[in-house]
């Protein structure tokens, strides 16, 4: 086929395809991205997993694992190693009890979230550090309300969970005195060096360490206060 023949190839002469195909693709994507489609997809996935479909089970776990770790477990544990253990236990427990799960409009994430929070409480109890902090977790447990619809994107779930976490943390920070609040904000939120933080507060680095230590102890108490 010569170059001239290619130029006159019927497909290239049709005025419709690009616009029509783009329109169809947009419609298809809109349909695929709609909450109803995502919800149906998640429901089918969960039900397939309940019937013993391993691939479906793996996909369910993949959907929930990242938000569980970064938005539910780690912000409540702090310790990455323990948080990873709890994530694994959450997934195993969820997998073992998946046949008891009954579909709700908010999807499977809140169900896994409850398991994770329960395991966080167990973890704290095992460490024999019963404090008001634990009561806070139990409040979480009883007040788990679905913030998002089923089939919600991982980023949506994480954003909503993170927003809740930040609001609670900010409320606790608000009860601290100004210098403690500044110490925590500069070192842990703005991630300044110890020397920079100490200079900003007008103290030595060693004394800044003490202030930060006291500030975190105060925050830990405040965070456990409903």
């Amino acid at each position: 086929m010569t170059a001239q023949a290619l130029d006159t190839w019927p497909v290239f002469e049709l005025p419709l395809p690009t616009g029509v195909l783009t329109g169809l693709w947009s419609a298809l994507r809109a349909e695929m991205d709609s909450p109803e489609t995502a919800m149906t997809e998640e429901r089918e996935l969960v039900e397939a997993a309940q019937r013993g479909d391993r691939r479906a089970l793996e996909r369910v776990l993949e959907r929930v694992s990242k938000p569980l770790y970064s938005s539910v477990i780690l912000p409540r544990i702090g310790n990455a190693v323990d948080a990873e253990d709890i994530l694994r236990d959450t997934l195993v427990r969820g997998m073992e009890r998946l046949d008891t799960y009954r579909w709700t409009g908010s999807g499977v994430f809140p169900w896994f979230r409850q398991i994770a929070v329960n395991l966080v409480i167990d973890h704290v109890r095992r460490k024999q550090r019963r404090t008001r902090l634990e009561d806070r977790y139990e409040e979480h447990l009883s007040s788990v309300a679905p913030l998002h619809h089923a089939g919600a994107d991982e980023n949506v779930i994480e954003a909503q969970e993170s927003q809740g976490n930040r609001q609670e943390l900010d409320a606790a920070m608000g009860t601290l005195n100004e210098r403690y609040r500044r110490a925590i904000t500069m070192r842990l939120v703005e991630e300044l060096s110890r020397e920079e933080c100490a200079a900003a507060l007008g103290v030595t680095t060693g004394n800044f360490d003490v202030i930060l230590h006291r500030a975190l102890a105060a925050l830990r108490k405040a965070y456990g206060t409903p």
Partner: protein, 155 residues
């Protein structure tokens, strides 16, 4: 008002040696958190960091690893995964039982050592005045079988 070590009393009472040590531990473990050295305050600090600075890629890798480990977990092999084999085994067991029962009944029938057909004597009508006749006939029936066995039908 500050002391010789620069401590400002507006920040509270002067720290004890123990508190200074704990503060130093916190400072170093924030840079290099290790599970065994984490104190309550360090964990609180790490929680603040996790809330404000989620490490997306690292968290994703941890989540991926957890799923892979969990999918290889023994409890993942739920009972219904074995159901096809269980069903096949159960069906095979039922077939074997039926075949065994059929074969057994045939063997029993072929090897029976007793007369299964009732002698006519039991079905014969009782005739008036012949009260002893059935017993005699029964004796004769038994004797005839005996002779047939020992003497070969030489009656």
């Amino acid at each position: 008002m500050t002391t010789s070590n620069g401590w400002n009393h507006e920040d509270g009472p002067e720290p004890t040696e123990e508190e200074i040590l704990a503060a130093q531990t916190l400072a170093s473990s924030l840079d290099h958190p290790q599970k065994n050295t984490l104190t309550d305050t360090t964990e609180m600090a790490l929680r603040v960091r996790a809330i404000h600075h989620p490490s997306s890629e690292q968290d994703r890798e941890i989540a991926r690893r957890a799923v892979a480990i969990v999918m290889a977990h023994p409890s993942n092999k739920r009972w219904w995964h074995n159901a096809p084999y269980l069903r096949i085994t159960a069906a095979a067991a039922v077939v074997a039982m039926i075949a065994g029962a059929l074969a057994g009944s045939r063997i029993l029938r072929d090897n029976k050592s007793h007369i299964t057909t009732s002698p006519l004597i039991w079905n014969a009508a009782v005739e008036p005045g012949a009260a002893s006749a059935p017993a005699t006939r029964m004796y004769d029936h038994g004797l005839r079988d005996y002779r047939a066995t020992l003497l070969g039908d030489a009656r």
